[in-house]
């Protein structure tokens, strides 16, 4: 790797910690970001000749703080209105003791930086955009491409999100144990949102695939900060195990490949190995939570060398415990899939039918219901369900998949019974 490559990777890796510490000093997101950018420019000048510092993040924090302080002073002079409160806030930043960042400061800095991005007033997509901009340091252009909007629109969206965060006030006091746990929960949910933005991306959107990897990086960062939290182990394991299937999830023509039909030799054994190792660690805590259970489900899929070797009874039991932890009709729908595989379509359909009022506008509900009816030989009802599914499809790939089901209905009438 070239020197410049090393420097770039170091800047990317140091960013959350550096911006997090600068946010603590300046108490303003824009100032913190600006100071970090200035420090990066200085790093690009200094590091190639002088060699990289031992602790790049500490270097960036130190330099960023100094250029930031200069900037605040200069602006205050230009405006001829010395901002006393801003300057007094900075006085403790110049205390040499502030340079010694201990592990707990560092942890709370990074957690705070992530936490400001998941303000409850921000819709999910804005949380994700803000985190990608501020924590991951992706450019507005990169984020705009990921969300399929123009750069100007994304710029506006991020500015608006920053304003919401600024008005809400960033929580600067060191959090207590309960508050820290709450923040961690909110941040974990936001990281999983980032992952899903990438994971659910249509094929050919490599930038969005990058989001899944970015989320995994954030998950690793969180787990380094909170090494004994089983739910963070579960979150990272879940993302790794799902992302391991990335290369097998879409066919060359862009259509979605169902789990059963995926070429499992394309699954990434390294990511699966890491995910399973994390699950082992989490299990020892015997404190299950939604991420751990979802990861355990993904692990059972990953452990099956062939689809027919999948432990569907185990998966059904895991979905049942997920229903207890986080009751939702979508989870029940997923349990119905496991029931269908383990015990046949009749029982599964009995589980699915009562969900109609709550899932009537959900693509997967009609898709599964159609598939179950088809298996039971109720072709006419199956077709109606599939027709509804097509009208609710989120992507052309989903619609194409259901159309293929409808075509096979026509071909195989009048009676069709497919073994699962």
């Amino acid at each position: 790797m070239t020197d410049l490559g090393w420097i770039e990777a170091s800047l990317v890796a140091a960013r959350p910690r550096a911006v997090g510490a600068l946010l603590r000093y300046f108490r303003d997101l824009d100032l913190a970001e600006e100071a970090y950018q200035d420090a990066c420019l200085k790093a690009l000048q200094a590091w190639p000749s002088k060699g990289p510092p031992r602790d790049p993040a500490a270097w960036l924090i130190f330099v960023g703080r100094n250029v930031g302080v200069d900037g605040v002073r200069k602006r205050a002079r230009e405006q001829d209105l010395p901002d006393e409160s801003a300057l007094s806030d900075l006085s403790d930043a110049e205390d040499p003791a502030a340079e010694r960042l201990d592990q707990s400061d560092y942890r709370d800095d990074v957690l705070r930086l992530l936490f400001v991005c998941c303000h409850p007033d921000l819709p999910a997509t804005q949380q994700v955009a803000l985190a990608l901009r501020i924590v991951s340091g992706l450019s507005v252009r990169q984020i705009a491409r990921a969300f399929l909007v123009t750069e100007a629109a994304m710029e506006q969206r991020i500015t608006r999100a920053k304003r919401v965060v600024g008005q809400a006030g960033v929580p600067f006091e060191t959090p207590g144990a309960v508050e820290r746990a709450e923040r961690l929960g909110a941040v974990a949910a936001m990281v999983y949102l980032v992952f899903n933005e990438g994971y659910t991306a249509p094929v050919g959107q490599e930038d969005r695939g990058g989001l899944a990897e970015e989320a995994i990086r954030l998950g690793r960062l969180l787990l380094r900060l909170f090494p004994a939290e089983p739910e963070i182990m579960g979150l990272l394991a879940l993302m790794l195990l799902q992302h391991a299937r990335a290369a097998a999830r879409f066919s060359a023509d862009g259509s979605a490949v169902l789990l059963d039909d995926q070429d499992r030799s394309l699954w990434d054994p390294k990511l699966i190995g890491e995910g399973l190792a994390l699950m082992d660690k989490a299990l020892r805590h015997a404190r299950p939570g939604p991420y751990q259970v979802q990861a355990a489900i993904a692990a059972l899929h990953a452990r099956a060398p062939r689809p027919e070797q999948t432990d569907w009874a185990g998966i059904e039991a895991l979905y049942a415990s997920l229903e207890r932890l986080e009751p939702s009709p979508v989870v029940t729908l997923n349990r119905a899939v496991a029931v269908m595989k383990a015990r046949g379509p009749e029982e599964a359909l009995a589980l699915v039918e009562p969900l109609e009022p709550r899932l009537s506008s959900y693509f997967y509900f009609h898709g599964l219901r159609g598939a179950l009816l088809k298996q039971l030989g109720r072709a006419r009802e199956a077709r109606l369900a599939f027709d509804q599914a097509v009208s609710l499809a989120n992507t052309p790939a989903e619609a194409a998949h259901i159309r293929a089901e409808i075509e096979s209905l026509v071909d195989e009438q009048p009676r069709l019974r497919r073994s699962s």
């Binding site: 790797m1 787990l223 090494p227 190792a277 082992d280």
Partner: protein, 130 residues
């Protein structure tokens, strides 16, 4: 004399490499390994999973199992084992047995291995001490 070459680097930086960069580095290292292998001078090579996958067993009367990598700097790295385990519990059991047998303080850091290749079975020239 056999030498162990222990690799240290910044995990967050290596983790920020793209897949292509990572593969390019591995390919370059692989070429060096092949050179040594042609001379029959290289044994097992391993790449460890990130420290987030690590578990530490603190030796002592009751061995203590902690999440995360070994973090102290008072102790020095004195040796390592590669053992085949069906899961982490088996690895912890093995580490506990070793801890009980060694009778000294210190720790074992358990790190899942993501890549392992044994180029050749090397042995030290002298008979191994009992």
């Amino acid at each position: 004399m056999l030498y162990a070459v222990l690799c240290y680097d910044r995990e967050d930086v290596v983790g920020a490499w793209s897949k292509e960069e990572d593969e390019a580095v591995m390919a370059r290292l692989g070429a060096v390994q092949e050179g040594l292998a042609r001379q029959g001078r290289i044994g097992p090579v391993a790449r460890l999973l990130p420290t987030t996958a690590a578990t530490t067993v603190r030796k002592g009367k009751e061995a203590l199992v902690l999440d995360g990598p070994f973090a102290e700097t008072k102790e020095q790295l004195l040796g390592f084992y590669i053992i085949d385990c069906k899961d982490l519990d088996e690895a912890v059991t093995a580490a506990r047995d070793l801890a009980a047998a060694s009778g000294s303080p210190g720790a074992y850091e358990l790190r899942p291995v993501s890549f392992f290749h044994d180029w050749a079975s090397l042995t030290t020239p002298e008979a191994e001490p009992a």
